[in-house]
Amino acid sequence: MVVLLKLTGVSFILAAAGAAGFGVARALEDEVSEIRKLEAALDVLASEVSYMLRPLPSAMTAAGKRVGGAVGELLCLMGSRTGISGRQTPEDVFRSAMEETDLRALPHFVREVLGELVKGLGVSGHKEQLRLIDMSIDRVRSYLASAEVECQKKARMYRYLGVLTGLAAAIVLI
């Protein structure tokens, strides 16, 4: 009976520690995934703005729908509230969107890039707009390259760490 109880306890500890490790790893991967979505969204935005000359609200909505995720959700929200129908500028909408709880889940880097970008969106000619978006894309790409390597390393480390911590705790308790 005691052995059975010990085995049950050990498996609970292993599962909990493993889940914690995998959870942290997953969060890291999600962060990288959102940054990839931001890169894709900026590509779409550049194309909509520069080649299609589509008005900013519908360009943001189109980019948001294309990429999905938290980034996509934010862009769709901005598209619906910006401009002549929403009566707000992209900067105003971004500021108020950031105060909404669900969008706080966006990685800090994504918020930083978008926060900078919205200050210049829609206020200059299409060449300048393309240059502005391209600068953001470059910044995202260089960050993404290091973030992906870092994420691979750290995600594996957290998974191992979770399982091994669980094992260590189990051995000590046994």
Binding site: S50, L56, G83, Q88, L121
Partner: protein, 347 residues
């Protein structure tokens, strides 16, 4: 005939038949296109900051037929009504002082351009933007001349909102005189000085052609409007804001000469309408469209048919017999005074 008033239209005389002095009564239909308070409150006021909006609503009697709103950075807001204006300069106790800041003008400009300057560069270059409802916002400020000779307004400090108006029925009585033999209007040249009402008349003739008017012997036709200055249909994102009829295609902001050839090839119109023929290319395109079987309704600046002889392109069009009918408008008894309507005289 007089467009803006609600009293009716006045035809002063007809050069073809001087005895046919008559008084038209095309009363403006109450519609969302009606100028005045409703459109002002619905389409223009929400674009202003809360402070400007609130003060204007307090200062201007509700229901006033507002025709223009002028917002200038650092100077009092001016609301223009027919025959007078109200300057919100605080000069009397019931008149508050309302001076917009440059930031308020800038934010309003951002909203009216849909936060999309890049998509409206051509409009900024031409000095005005069309907003939903068909209203026009004229821009003023510091201009910059680019190396290619084009002019842009670099620092916009003034916005002039002009409330759009359409006078449904403005062309109803004239349509009878302008009807052709094949159930369409005949190719017609409308001549008028600026502000004489030629675009208003052209717009209504487009609607009549598109809807048909059996009592005038006009059947419904496929109409194409080449609207280079976005004045006829007042499109916003390609959608006409004025009623130009159910069978009407609009090619918005396209140069006339190219646009006429494009619509002739692409949408096969029975009637083509365009505003302000202003050069040899436009005249050639109009001639090509008429030769191609379309009826062309067009306008031209001038105060009489005689003046058409003074410009080579209009002389060429008229002497070539392309237009069967002519209408001359003036402002003698208010915009839309018909000085002549009938067959195009030989020149």
């Amino acid at each position: 005939m007089v467009f803006p008033g609600k009293t009716g239209l006045v035809a002063s005389r007809s050069e073809v038949n001087p005895s046919s002095v008559d008084r038209f009564s095309a009363v403006r239909a109450a519609s969302p296109e009606e100028p005045g308070w409703e459109a002002f409150e619905r389409d223009v006021l929400p674009l202003l900051s809360g402070r400007l909006r609130g003060t204007i609503l307090e200062a201007i009697p509700r229901g006033s037929p507002v025709s223009e709103l002028r917002v200038r950075a650092g100077r009092p807001v001016c609301v223009v009504l027919p025959g007078r204006d109200i300057l919100l300069d605080g000069s009397s106790p019931d008149l508050p002082k309302l001076v917009p800041t440059p930031e308020e003008v800038s934010k309003t400009l951002s909203l009216i351009s849909d936060c999309s300057y890049y998509a409206l560069e051509a409009e900024f270059a031409s000095g005005y933007i069309t907003i939903p409802g068909g209203h026009r916002v004229g821009l003023s400020g510091e201009a910059a001349v680019w190396a290619d000779g084009s002019v842009r307004i670099r620092e916009v400090s003034g916005l002039c909102f002009r409330i759009a108006r359409a006078v449904k029925g403005a062309g109803a009585r004239l349509a009878r005189r302008l009807a052709g033999s094949d159930g369409r209007l005949a190719s017609t040249l409308i001549v008028s000085p600026p502000g004489g009402g030629k675009t208003t008349l052209l717009r209504d003739l487009c609607r009549i052609s598109s809807e048909g008017m059996p009592e005038a012997g006009i059947r419904p036709s496929q109409v194409a409007i080449v609207d280079e200055r976005s004045e006829i249909a007042a499109c916003y994102r390609g959608v006409p804001q004025h009623d130009v009829g159910p069978r009407t295609d609009v090619l918005d902001r396209c140069p006339k000469a190219r646009g006429i050839m494009m619509v002739m090839r692409s949408v096969g119109p029975e009637v083509v309408a365009t505003d302000e023929i202003g050069g040899d290319d436009d005249a050639r395109a109009v001639a090509a469209a008429i030769s191609g079987g379309a009826v062309v309704l067009a306008t031209c600046h001038g105060s009489s048919l005689e003046q058409l002889k003074m410009r080579p392109y209009s002389r060429w069009l008229v002497s070539g017999g392309y237009f069967e009918k002519a209408v001359v408008l003036s402002k003698r008894m208010g915009p839309g005074t018909v000085e002549y309507a009938g067959d195009m005289p030989e020149m």
